[in-house]
């Protein structure tokens, strides 16, 4: 019996060139054997940032890149029959060959044109696509329909580009007597682009930013160390000053976008809301710092699912999970592409409950005794969802007068399913509202000491 093309064993390589990084994701799928996985790599192009328009950035570079990628993934990608000509090694079996290579180039990528031309000259076997607003809008439409959310925020955070895309589906009246209700999805976007590095470094001197900092640094320390981070971008930050500055910078940038687009983003989330975070900042900040920046920058409240896509898999294979079996590249499972989710609860905590339990619940799975979880008032708590089995149910309730300001429900219930839709954490932001920063770093330090209270499980 012949195998349906959908179920055929297959592998596909997608490269995303964005913010001076090449993100490589190689997807393998063998649905008959129920074996699918994604191999990921990121390569920082910053050492080449002044040379991306030079003669050195040619065929030789791309040959070397694919050679190294083969070794890194332990997967044959290049057909070496033709010397000096790049040909894809057709898919044979796991670890040998791919059915295609697609390169997505972000239209904000520095020297976009040079990279585009150099790849076009390099090989005709590679399909080159542009990652622009149109592409992201298509992804947003698809996610709203496929993932069952009525509202999605896609927040792409890179130091020099901040973008927020929102998709919202509402039922609107239709038909002759306006009695039919049809869903309508609206997509909005807003961005901040830092065209030149000097402007980005100088921005650190603004008084607005200083009101978000917790450390008392001299102006020289701030500008020198921030300047070095911008001039020599790195993949990891150990300097507490830079953590503080980057958190404050991210919060302020998001707040600026929100305030100048108050008609598009109101920050009110529902159980059918999701936030997707991509971009390099999510790799540089700690999870807690990122949460503070997102929640306070966008002034979020309510409940939502958060996906932090550090490897930018959703840009690369988002379309495959939307198109499912109709996907032209490869059919892969949602669980391989979608990062583990974080359930976020941002309720209104009454001042009298600031030292009390404001959320309590239990985590249960088949054949395992349920485990209690609880969260106290006044801090942001990250509770790990314990690995109890294939399917885990988390149930809980807001307590002691705590409620969601825009909703009447106080019960929370969600299910985590391994390799499909897995939750790794539950975040309860139990800080008393309104959140006020400043006026000086000492005040912020005192507040963060309370907000960063230890995790409870």
């Amino acid at each position: 019996m012949k195998t349906l093309p959908t179920f055929k064993e297959n592998a596909y390589l997608t490269l995303l060139i964005k913010d001076n990084f090449i993100y490589a994701n190689l997807a393998y799928s063998n649905l008959i054997a129920q074996r699918t996985f994604l191999l990921s790599d990121s390569t920082d192009l910053s050492p080449l940032k002044f040379r991306l328009d030079d003669i050195t950035f040619t065929k030789e570079f791309w040959f070397e890149y694919f050679d190294s990628l083969e070794k890194f993934f332990d997967w044959d990608i290049v057909d070496r029959t033709y010397e000096g000509i790049f040909k894809i090694k057709g898919f044979e079996h796991e670890e040998v060959g791919v059915s295609g290579i697609k390169v997505l180039i972000d239209d904000n990528q520095p020297f976009f044109k040079n990279i585009f031309i150099s790849l076009k000259d390099f090989s005709r076997d590679i399909s080159i696509k542009i990652l622009d607003d149109k592409y992201i809008n298509q992804l947003m439409y698809g996610f709203v329909q496929r993932m069952g959310y009525s509202q999605i925020y896609w927040i792409d955070l890179d130091i020099s580009h901040f973008s927020i895309y929102t998709a919202k589906t509402e039922s609107i009246s239709s038909g002759v007597f306006n009695k039919e209700r049809i869903p309508k999805t609206t997509i909005n976007s807003s961005k901040i682009d830092w065209g030149n590095e000097i402007g980005l470094i100088d921005f650190i001197k603004t008084s607005k930013l200083k009101s978000f900092l917790t450390g008392e640094f001299t102006s020289e320390e701030l500008t020198d160390r921030w300047g070095n981070l911008i001039a020599h971008s790195c993949e990891y930050i150990s300097d507490p000053l830079l953590h503080d500055v980057l958190r404050a910078f991210t919060t302020l940038q998001l707040l600026s976008i929100k305030q100048s687009n108050s008609d598009k983003f109101n920050g009110i989330l529902s159980s059918e809301s999701a936030i997707i975070v991509t971009g390099n900042i999510s790799n540089l900040l700690t999870k807690r710092e990122l949460l503070f920046s997102l929640i306070d920058g966008l002034e979020l409240e309510g409940v939502c699912d958060l996906f932090i896509d550090k490897e930018n898999k959703l840009f690369s294979f988002g379309k495959s999970i939307i198109d499912k079996e109709k996907s032209q590249d490869i059919v892969i499972l949602r669980g391989d592409v979608l990062p583990k989710a974080i359930k976020i609860l941002i309720p209104e905590v009454p001042i009298k409950s600031k030292n009390k339990v404001i959320f309590s619940g239990k985590v249960s799975a088949q054949g395992v005794a349920p485990r209690d979880i609880y969260a106290f008032g006044s801090s942001l708590q990250i509770l790990k969802v314990p690995d109890l089995g294939e399917k885990i149910i988390v149930e809980g309730q807001l307590k002691n007068g705590t409620l969601f300001s825009h909703y009447t429900f106080t019960n929370i219930e969600f299910m985590s399913t391994k390799r499909n839709f897995e939750y790794e954490e539950l975040v309860v932001d139990a800080r008393c509202r309104p959140i006020v920063y400043g006026p000086n770093p000492q005040d912020n330090r005192n507040k963060f000491k309370i907000w960063k209270d230890a995790d409870k499980e």
């Binding site: 940032k49 040379r51 990628l69």
Partner: protein, 335 residues
Amino acid sequence: MQIRSRVFEKYEKYIFNIPLLGSDKTDIKPGKLNVGDILFQRSDSTLKKSINISEVFKCKGAESYKYVFKIDGEYVEKGEVLAEKTSSGKLSIMQIKSPISGVLDLSRITYGYIDILGEEGNIEFKSDFSGEILGINPIDGITISTQAVGIDGVVSSKGNDKLFGKLEILGDGNSILNEGGLNQEYRGKIVWVGPYLYNRVATELFERGAVAVLTYAMSYTEFREIGLPIMILGGFGSVHCDLEFLKRFLSFKDKFIILDTSQNQLFILSESNFKNNGWFVNQYINQTVISRALSTYGYIGKIMEYDQESNNILVEFGKKGRTLMNIGLVDFIDL
């Protein structure tokens, strides 16, 4: 995967232009260029005095030309008014008078400088590199293709300028100097001042005619304030300048260099027989790295051990000792 940053990158065919001034004379023709060939002859004068208009009038360097009364090449007597600025309320007038007699040179007016020149003489520019002359014309000057070594940096003054000059090393190239140690003129020179630059030294160098200044590190605030063509090769603040880098860089003393301000790159016109390593790092042990961690920023070392699980590396930094750090805190370099 990790990319190796080529600190000194070899360019086999670097094409550049040497702009010709009105008084320049050249006999060369398109074709092969050999070491020792005379590129051009320039009538040049000694620098008697430099005046920084932007400093006196507190205006941007690029706006200084608005206040100049004289034309380029004009002879001025001592006491003649060179530039004048009226205050915004038109109640006061600030004037700059020539402190000496001489010929005005406004070639650096975009950076705010008026130069007063003295005796004229002829200078021959001899090539110390070989290559090919691609063309000569009054607009582009002399177009040459040659081998070059490229170095990345950050340039303070943005523009589309390609500054051309000879690399001058101050002192031993490794000491931090103050302005008191400067006692000659630097016309036509791009000056390496050492691992750290104070703005007073930079100002003094420009007043002595330097085309541009190179350093490894300086304060970002001073870098932004100065508005003159300064290139930083290392970073901002107190950044360690490693001897490994310095040894190699100082070997280019007296070479012709081109500072490309728009590309943030420095090109040393030099035939070198080194070969760059491949772009990608296939295994980490024994690779050369430069630290981006706060306590060891700028130190160059070798990776001794790598732990895949934690993504940590053990780096030997010579006299600084060994440090355990995350791999994301270093840049792999080809030195």
